[in-house]
C-alpha cells in the first residue's frame, strides 16, 4: 500500500527528498512530465486529454510531502541532544517518545523524569520542549557529535500498521494521506491541464505551495489534506470538527482561506449525485496550501478537502481507509466538472 510506504518515509519540512523519491516512482508512468523546483516541490504536469479539452483552464492539486518533526540544535556535555520543533507540535505529545535522527536513523528517546521523582507541583505542569533532551545512549558530547550533527532532523519512530477493521495508524498522515490520494487522482485523464504538486514546507508556512503556484498560475486550486479530527465522546451536543468514517471533509473556511463557494458547491453536488459520503470541516481552524495558492498573483479560487485524521501533529495518527478512497473518488468525479464553472 502506497500510504504505508509514504507514512514510514521520513520527511520533516525542508527535507522531503525520501518522500519525493517514492512519489516520483509512483507517478512517473502516469503524467506527461514532472520536475522538482528550487524549493523541492515535485510538480507533475498532466496534459489535457480528449477532443473537448479546455485549453484556458489549469487546475492545481496540492498535497504536502513534509511532516512535523524536530531539529537537533545542541549537544549537551553528557551526550544528550537539545532540539527545536519544526512545525506545530504540542509539547505534551513529546515526552517518552522514540525518534529517529538524521539520514542514518540514529535511534533516540525523548527522556522524561520518572513519576517517582516528580514533585507534586511538577505533576501539574507540562514540561516545555526547550527543556527536554533526546537520549541517544551516548556517554559524552564527543560521542554524540560523532553520531548526530547539528541541524539533523528527527522524526517520530512510528511504523504504519492496520488498526481495527477499516483503519490504519502511522505517523505523518498529515499529509501523506493527501499525497496518496493525489497519486491516484493523477492516474486519470482530465479535459484540461492538471498540475499535481507535492509541496514542500507546508508545516512551516505553506512555503512550497506559494512558489509552485507562482510558477503555475492555476485557474483553480484544490488542496488535499489530512485534517484535524476530534470525534471522541463529548459531554455536550456539539459537533466534532470532523468524524473518522464520515467521508472526505470539505473546508468552507479556515484561518488561511475562505473557500471559493463554487468549488465547495461543486464538491457537495458531486458527492450527493454519486452517493459519496462527505462532511464539512466544522471549525474555522488551521490553514493549508490552499490559503497560500489563493493569493498568488491575481488570485486563484481555491478549496481544501481532507481525510479526517485523528491525533495529527503527534507521533501517531489514525485514519479510515474508506475516507481516503472516498476522497479519491470524489475528486475524480468532481474534477471534470470544473470545466463547467
Amino acid at each position: 500500500m502506497l500510504l504505508e510506504k509514504l507514512s514510514n518515509a521520513r520527511g520533516v519540512s525542508g527535507n522531503e527528498a525520501e518522500v519525493r523519491e517514492i512519489l516520483i516512482q509512483a507517478i512517473q508512468d502516469h503524467v506527461t512530465e514532472y520536475r522538482v523546483d528550487t524549493l523541492g516541490n515535485l510538480i507533475a504536469y498532466k496534459k489535457a486529454s480528449g477532443t473537448r479539452a479546455r485549453k484556458t483552464i489549469r487546475v492545481m492539486l496540492a498535497a504536502h510531502m513534509d511532516e512535523v518533526g524536530l531539529m537537533i540544535v545542541h549537544h549537551e556535555s553528557n551526550g544528550h541532544l537539545r532540539f527545536r520543533k519544526v512545525g506545530g507540535i504540542d509539547d505534551r505529545v513529546l515526552l517518552s517518545k522514540t525518534v529517529l535522527i538524521g539520514k542514518d536513523k540514529i535511534p533516540g528517546v525523548i527522556g522524561a523524569k520518572p513519576i517517582h521523582l516528580l514533585k507534586p507541583s511538577e505533576r501539574q505542569q507540562v514540561v516545555e520542549s526547550d527543556s527536554m533532551t533526546i537520549d541517544i545512549g551516548a556517554k559524552s558530547k564527543e560521542e554524540a557529535q560523532e553520531l548526530v550533527k547539528l541541524g539533523d532532523y528527527a522524526t517520530f519512530a512510528t511504523t504504519f500498521s492496520p488498526i481495527g477493521n477499516d483503519c490504519v495508524k502511522g505517523k505523518a498522515f498529515d499529509d501523506r494521506a493527501g499525497c496518496a490520494a493525489l497519486v491516484e487522482i493523477l492516474k486519470r485523464d482530465y479535459p484540461f491541464d492538471v498540475y499535481g504538486v507535492f509541496t514542500a514546507q507546508e508545516e512551516v508556512g505553506a512555503r512550497g505551495a506559494r512558489v509552485a503556484a507562482y510558477a503555475i498560475e492555476p485557474t483553480y486550486a484544490f488542496a488535499l489534506e489530512g485534517t484535524v479530527c476530534d470525534d471522541l465522546p463529548k459531554e455536550k451536543d456539539e459537533s466534532p470538527v470532523t468524524r473518522v468514517g464520515g467521508g472526505p471533509a470539505i473546508t468552507f473556511a479556515d484561518n488561511s482561506l475562505i473557500s471559493d463557494r463554487r468549488l465547495v458547491n461543486l464538491l457537495v453536488e458531486t458527492a450527493r449525485e454519486n452517493k459519496i459520503p462527505y462532511q464539512f470541516k466544522q471549525a474555522v481552524a488551521g490553514g493549508t496550501d490552499a490559503g497560500r495558492i489563493a493569493l498568488i498573483k491575481e488570485g486563484v479560487p481555491s478549496v481544501a478537502v481532507s481525510v479526517p485524521t485523528r491525533y495529527i501533529h503527534s507521533p501517531v495518527s489514525l485514519l479510515n481507509k474508506h475516507d481516503l478512497e472516498y476522497l479519491i473518488a470524489l475528486m475524480i468525479k468532481a474534477l471534470p466538472r470544473v470545466a463547467r464553472i
Binding site: T219, D237, E238, S239, F252, A253, I258, S259, R261, V264, F280, Q282, A283, V284, A285, A294, L295, I296, K297, E298, G299, V300, P301
Partner: protein, 355 residues
C-alpha cells in the same frame, strides 16, 4: 395611534427613507447590504449598478474584487492610480446546529464577543438570528464566543432555515442622526461610498484611475493582495475607517469625528509613503479641506497589501474617523464623508508628482 406614537419615539427611523440626502441614501443602501468576507456578491452587484455609467471598464477578478477603470485624459504613458475600499464586513459562520436548532459559530474577522449578546445577524437568505448566551456557569463579564449561540427561531435541527457553513453579517439598520450617521458595516462600506462618489464627481484625471472594491480585507487583506498585483499601480490610496479618541474615557488618539478625513501616517501594518501623505495634506490645505493626521496603534488596511505588491508601490490611506468600529453600530460624521470625497477628487484631478 400606534403609528403616531412610533413616529414620535423614533422620528429618525421612520422618516429615514423620506427626503434623505442622496449621499446619505447611498450610504444606507451600501451599508445595509449583506456581505461578510468571502460572500461579497450582493454588495458587488449593488456597487456595479451605482458605477456602471461612470467607468470605462469594469471587471471582476478571480477572488471577486470589483475593478473599475476610469481612463485618464493625459498623454500616454499615464500613471496608474489605485484606490481601494473593501466591500466585506466582519461576521460569523455556522459550525454546528444542535438538536434544538441552536447554531454555534466561528468568527469571520475581528469579532468582539462583548458586542454580540442580544444583537442580530442576517444570513444570505434573509434569515435573522439573535445572539444568545449560555447563562449557567458564566457571567456577563466573561462573554466568550464559545458561550454564545445563534437562535434563528427554529425548534429543531430539521426545521432550522440555515446550515453548517452558512455565513452571516451583523444586522442593524441605518440611522440618520443629522450630521452623524450610524450603521453596521461602515467599515468599510463608507469607503465604498467614497469611491463611488469620487468616480461620479471626477470630471477628468490625467491618470488612469482604478477604483477597486476589494474582498476579504477583514480576514487578511486578501482581495487587495491579488487586485494590486493585477492592477500594478504607480500610486495607491486605500479608503477605510479608523478609530477615534473623542468618546468618554477613551484610549488617547488624536482623531475626532467631524474634524475632517484622517490622513494616515502609520498603523500597525504600514508606514504611509511620506510623499503620498504630503500630497494628501498639501492638497487638503490648498483646497481648504479640513483634515487630521492619523496614527493608529492597532489594525491596518488594504494599503499594507498594496504597498508591498510586486516591486512596491508608494501608498497612502485616507481614513474616515469612526466610533464603535466592529460593532453593529458604527458611527461616522457626514462632513468627514463629504470632505474625504472632495479631497480625493482634488488629488486625482491634477498631475501627481511624488517627491
Amino acid at each position: 395611534m400606534t403609528t403616531d406614537k412610533k413616529v414620535a419615539h423614533f422620528p429618525m427611523l421612520d422618516t429615514n427613507h423620506l427626503n434623505l440626502h442622496p449621499l446619505k441614501a447611498l450610504t444606507r443602501r451600501i451599508t445595509e447590504a449583506y456581505g461578510p468576507s468571502g460572500y461579497e456578491s450582493a454588495v458587488r452587484e449593488l456597487i456595479r449598478d451605482e458605477i456602471k455609467d461612470y467607468a470605462d471598464e469594469i471587471r471582476v477578478d478571480a477572488l471577486g474584487n470589483l475593478i473599475a477603470r476610469k481612463k485618464g485624459s493625459g498623454a500616454a504613458p499615464r500613471k496608474k492610480v489605485m484606490l481601494a475600499a473593501h466591500m466585506d464586513e466582519i461576521g460569523v459562520i455556522v459550525t454546528h446546529i444542535d438538536e434544538k436548532g441552536f447554531a454555534r459559530f466561528a468568527p469571520i474577522g475581528g469579532v468582539f464577543p462583548l458586542t454580540l449578546f442580544g444583537q442580530r445577524c442576517r444570513f444570505a437568505n434573509g434569515v435573522i438570528g439573535v445572539f444568545g448566551r449560555e447563562t449557567k456557569n458564566s457571567t456577563t463579564s466573561e462573554i466568550t464566543l464559545n458561550k454564545l449561540f445563534i437562535d434563528v427561531g427554529a425548534t429543531s435541527k430539521d426545521d432550522a432555515p440555515i446550515q453548517v457553513g452558512d455565513p452571516a453579517g451583523f444586522w442593524r439598520d441605518f440611522a440618520d442622526l443629522g450630521n452623524r450617521l450610524v450603521s453596521k458595516a461602515m467599515d468599510d462600506r463608507i469607503g465604498c461610498v467614497v469611491l463611488i462618489q469620487v468616480l461620479r464627481e471626477l470630471k477628468q484625471s490625467p491618470h488612469d484611475v482604478y477604483f477597486v472594491f476589494t474582498v476579504q480585507e477583514e480576514v487578511g487583506l486578501r482581495g487587495a493582495t491579488t487586485s494590486a498585483y493585477g492592477v500594478q499601480p504607480d500610486l495607491a490610496i486605500a479608503v477605510d475607517v479608523t478609530g477615534t479618541g473623542d468618546t468618554p474615557e477613551s484610549n488617547p488618539m488624536a482623531v475626532q469625528l467631524g474634524k475632517g478625513p484622517a490622513i494616515k501616517v502609520k498603523d500597525s501594518g504600514m508606514l504611509a509613503h511620506p510623499a503620498v501623505k504630503n500630497l494628501l495634506a498639501d492638497t487638503a490645505r490648498a483646497e481648504k479641506i479640513p483634515y487630521q493626521f492619523e496614527v493608529l496603534t492597532g489594525g491596518t488596511t488594504d494599503a499594507m497589501a498594496m504597498q508591498t505588491t510586486r516591486e512596491g508601490v508608494p501608498t497612502g490611506c485616507i481614513s474616515i474617523p469612526t466610533r464603535y468600529i466592529h460593532t453593529p453600530s458604527e458611527m461616522i460624521d457626514f462632513d468627514d464623508l463629504q470632505n474625504a470625497i472632495k479631497l480625493l477628487v482634488a488629488v486625482l484631478s491634477k498631475p501627481v508628482k511624488l517627491d
